[in-house]
């Protein structure tokens, strides 16, 4: 494994002290090092937001694009350059508010690129307005009386759009976060990774239930393909499927692992079930992974059997005539 520091740029990192972004950046450096990705073949592309500052801090090629458009930028980049390793870094506002359309199209097309979506359920950079993931009723500068309407459940939106890979991680579990980044990277198409990230200045504790030592075990279910859905202190709790309804059970009530919901990351319908677990118990890990050819590979196949034309051929076209003196 290479040295994570070799992937850090010389620019001073400028997030608020205590921001969850630091952890994600650190894990990202580590993952790049772990994967030993050549710096010159790696591109990190972001939109606008606190999270979207990340590319400046990574010593590869990088683009800090415009608000909501990293996905569109990357679609063009990878079509033109399928040889590159391109990562998308975005926030809940960037990807899901202004950038929602490009995101769903990228997912439907299955553009191969991991998408690191820093979800802090707030607009950080503009100093605290609701985002499309802010829970109903959230008080913010732009919603002093509470936010209206249901928030997106990002994994559900991604699945609805046709995402071939959907996963969730958190800033406060670095090891799992790295694992998810690696899984996202190795996926054959668009890899949607939602990362719960704490904005300690404008939305502190939005995810504490799921991320903090005291409560994490009781609220976060880590998914492993082929394994039952367990959580609680020492995995004392599990989730069963009662028809189409997930039910929490206590293993001490006589349930065995075989009684539980066995995670199958290839099942699209169960993935929807997981995606809709948006209450006080939430899944982390790979919710869904499906192998489908990437957009860039489809595009390459399309082009590869067509011969490039010479300038001469192009200029002549299909029908000419000669004017003699």
């Amino acid at each position: 494994m290479a040295n994570p520091r070799d992937y850090a740029s010389d620019q001073e990192v400028r997030w608020c002290p205590g921001c969850g972004d630091y952890s994600v950046l650190k894990q990202f450096h580590t993952v790049l090092a772990h994967l030993e990705l050549p710096r010159h073949k790696t591109v990190v592309v972001s939109g606008i937001g606190c999270s979207s500052r990340l590319p400046y801090y990574v010593n590869t090629f990088g683009v800090h694009s415009i608000h909501g458009r990293a996905t569109a930028f990357v679609t063009g980049l990878v079509l033109a350059r399928p040889d590159l390793d391109v990562w998308i870094v975005t926030g809940d506002g960037d990807a899901l508010s202004i950038g929602g359309n490009h995101l769903i199209h990228l997912l439907r097309r299955n553009v191969k690129a991991p998408i690191l979506l820093f979800n802090n359920e707030i607009y950080g950079l503009t100093k605290g307005q609701v985002s499309p993931t802010s829970p109903e009723g959230q008080v913010s500068k732009s919603s002093p009386d509470g936010a209206l309407g249901s928030p997106f459940m990002p994994p559900a939106l991604a699945l609805g759009a046709g995402a071939s890979f959907v996963a969730r991680a958190m800033d406060r579990d670095p090891e799992h976060l790295r694992l998810m980044m690696i899984r996202a990277h190795e996926h054959s198409g668009s890899a949607f990774l939602e990362i719960y990230q704490n904005c300690n200045v404008f939305n502190d504790g939005a995810f504490h239930l799921f991320t903090e030592k005291e409560s994490r075990a009781h609220h976060s279910v880590y998914l492993t393909h082929g394994q039952p859905l367990l959580f609680g202190i020492e995995n004392s709790m599990g989730i069963r499927l009662d028809g189409f309804t997930p039910r929490t059970v206590n293993l001490s009530d006589g349930y065995s692992h075989d009684d539980l919901w066995i995670h199958d990351e290839k099942d699209p319908i169960k993935a929807h079930l997981l995606a809709r677990m948006h209450q006080e118990i939430r899944p982390f890990g790979v919710l869904y992974a499906e192998n489908r050819p990437s957009f860039q590979s489809l595009a390459q196949n399309l082009s590869s059997d067509k011969k490039a034309e010479s300038i001469e051929q192009l200029l002549q076209g299909s029908r000419t005539w000669i004017q003699s003196e």
Partner: protein, 613 residues
């Protein structure tokens, strides 16, 4: 011998009018005529058959050297039904020839066209015009009797019958057309045969009807010898992009979102798709522009095209392109605005937007094509500027150019200018970090692409520190970067050829300045007025921004300057503020090209004012 002839074909959208129009234009060009065409499509959705909104028109003028436009009023009007007559009757010269398909004037068709019960438009026409009225439907059914095709399919060859008629009238060898039809319809043997038979029937009828009276000889041009092809405006744009990319040794990446009248650029490129020429239909125009920028970052010649509404949507992305200093060719095929406006009509009302339609100081070179073949040169040059000066470039085309066809003397590969983008090779000395915003003598930054070891760098939309490209909020640096970007664009004048007036006069009474698709109309009228010994000259600007350095001198050589544009007066303001001369505006905002007559009368007024003033 007539020096030029204007023919206007009109019929229902389903009548194949555009096909025979193009065929006739093509063959006229091959016969050595100068040719200019103009398509008048119905508004976007097909209206019910037989109604006026459903009429499709194709006008062409052919003749000697002086054919620069598709002509004003027609010498010959072909109408396939009553609706076509209703729409275009006023476009026929008082002594013109009307060729009418009788079966298109039955009661049902008259009613559909909105004629009152009992109206007899053809009878009225006969009173003043020369009318050739033929029941084309009956004639093709008769001619194709033997063929194993349905009535409807046979009917669909009516247009070929007309083509045959016209071919005879203008003394074109039938076999030329038959070959053309064969090429176009190679796919189905029966259909091909039917069309050829219908053509021959029309050709034959003309002979037997002894239409000799209408047989006309028309001047030919003396085009330079060489190999020619036809170029339609949008096709020329696509071709220029492909050829420029090859010249620059870069792959082409084109991203677009369909919109009338720009869509055909995407279609044309998609037909040529291969690993050197990628097309991408994006989810919207913003994505198209931004995806193109992504490809530019990756090292492609990137381009996008749209029309008004889509160009407006690209504003933010184009400002981003300006600050990234990446090459990007943006083509605006202008149509009638504002908003959705007149989607199928031509207009020149997006010039100010091209110059100023972005927030912040965000200049980019702006070029305007004047005709279908000129679109090739203009877009090629735009690509060269974009690539060599590392900047987005806007090219203005318009609805008129997009659909019009011209004969084009094909240049050889070597005649085309070389294109050498500032690619970086090698890595910075001593392991220093690469500096993406160090400028060369022309203010151009280097182009380093992912995949190049040692050239890793990060760019974005925030203001950049000079040289390093790192984020900088430093006040003086901001001013320096704004000025550097502006100076780089200003230096694009090094790519210009000298500005030339049509007849080479750089002084006189009246200078008519034009730009874009009005080229032919203005040129034709000015030439005629010169013929009448007026002191008048025409200059047509390709470069709107930066303005050519030699342009001010030309302007100052004339007593009066008139700027003719299809808008409310846009270039005229730029000229006034830049040169402080009292340039006059001559405008038209009707979604239609200038007509010779109206232009002539407006210019005469100016000429008189000069004489009296």
């Amino acid at each position: 011998m007539q020096s030029e002839v204007t023919v206007l074909f009109a019929g229902d959208s389903g009548d194949g009018i555009q096909l025979i129009g193009n065929a006739f234009a093509q063959k006229s060009a091959e016969a050595g005529h100068s040719v200019s065409t103009f398509s008048d499509f119905p508004a976007e959705i097909r209206a019910p058959q037989g109604t006026v909104p459903g009429v499709s028109g194709f006008k062409l003028q052919f003749g000697g050297e002086s054919v620069y436009t598709a002509g004003d009023k027609a010498d010959v009007l072909v109408v396939m039904n009553a609706a076509a007559y209703k729409k275009y009757a006023g476009h026929l010269k008082p002594d013109g020839i009307l060729i009418a398909n009788e079966s298109g004037f039955d009661g049902r068709n008259l009613a559909l066209a909105g004629y009152d019960n009992g109206a007899e438009p053809l009878a009225e026409a006969r009173a003043s015009q020369r009318v050739i009225s033929v029941d084309i439907k009956k004639n093709v059914q008769a001619a194709l009797l033997e063929l194993p095709l349905g009535t409807a399919e046979k009917n669909r060859t009516k247009n070929m019958y007309v083509l045959g008629l016209l071919a005879w009238m203008y003394q074109r060898p039938a076999q030329d057309f038959e070959k053309y039809i064969q090429e176009k319809l190679a796919k189905s043997k029966n259909v091909l045969e039917a069309n050829q038979m219908a053509f021959r029937a029309g050709y034959g009828l003309a002979e037997t009807m002894e239409l000799a009276a209408f047989k006309t000889e028309v001047s030919r041009a003396t085009p330079a010898p060489g190999v020619y092809r036809t170029l339609v405006g949008n096709q020329a744009v696509a071709l220029a992009l492909m050829v420029a990319a090859k010249k620059a040794n870069r792959p082409l990446f084109f991203a677009g979102y369909p919109i009338t009248p720009a869509s055909d650029i995407l279609h044309e490129l998609a037909r040529h798709r291969n690993s050197d020429c990628l097309t991408f239909q994006a989810e919207d125009e913003i994505a198209a522009a931004v995806a193109a920028l992504g490809a530019a970052f990756g090292g492609s010649l990137a381009a996008t095209a749209s029309s008004g509404p889509g160009i407006s949507l690209k504003s933010e992305a184009l400002g981003f392109a300006v600050t990234l200093e990446l090459p990007l060719v943006v083509i605006n095929v202008q149509r009638g605005g504002p908003s959705t406006g007149l989607p199928t009509k031509t207009e020149q009302s997006d010039l100010m937007q091209a110059l100023y339609g972005r927030h912040g100081e965000a200049q980019m070179p702006v070029l305007a094509a004047r005709s279908a073949t000129d679109a090739f040169e203009t877009v090629f040059l735009a690509a060269k500027i974009a690539l060599e000066a590392m900047t987005p470039v806007m090219v203005l085309s318009d609805g008129y150019i997009s659909n019009s066809a011209e004969a084009w003397l094909i240049p050889s590969e070597d005649e085309l200018p070389s294109i050498a983008p500032p690619m970086v090779d090698g890595t910075p000395a001593d392991g220093n970090p690469f500096e993406p915003f160090v400028r060369d003598a022309f203010g151009v930054r280097p182009w380093a692409c992912p995949g190049q070891e040692g050239l890793e760098h990060r760019i974005g939309g925030l203001e950049k520190e000079k040289n390093t490209g790192n984020i900088s909020y430093d006040p003086a640096n901001h001013e320096e970067m704004v000025m550097a970007r502006a100076a780089k664009v200003q230096a694009a004048t090094r790519f210009y050829s000298p500005t030339q007036t049509d007849s080479g006069n750089n002084s006189g009474d009246l200078l008519v300045v034009g730009w874009g698709g009005t080229y032919g109309s203005i040129k034709a009228v000015v030439e005629k007025l010169q013929g009448k010994h007026y002191s008048i000259e025409h200059v047509h600007l390709r470069h709107i921004h930066p303005l050519p350095e030699d342009f001010g001198n030309i302007l100052r050589g004339f007593k009066r300057v008139v700027v003719a544009e299809l808008n409310h007066g846009q270039l005229v303001n730029l000229i006034r503020s830049t040169y402080l001369i009292d340039a006059h505006r001559l405008t038209k905002i009707q979604g239609q090209p200038f007509e010779e007559a109206e232009l002539k009368s407006a210019l005469k007024t100016h000429l008189q004012a000069i004489q009296h003033g």
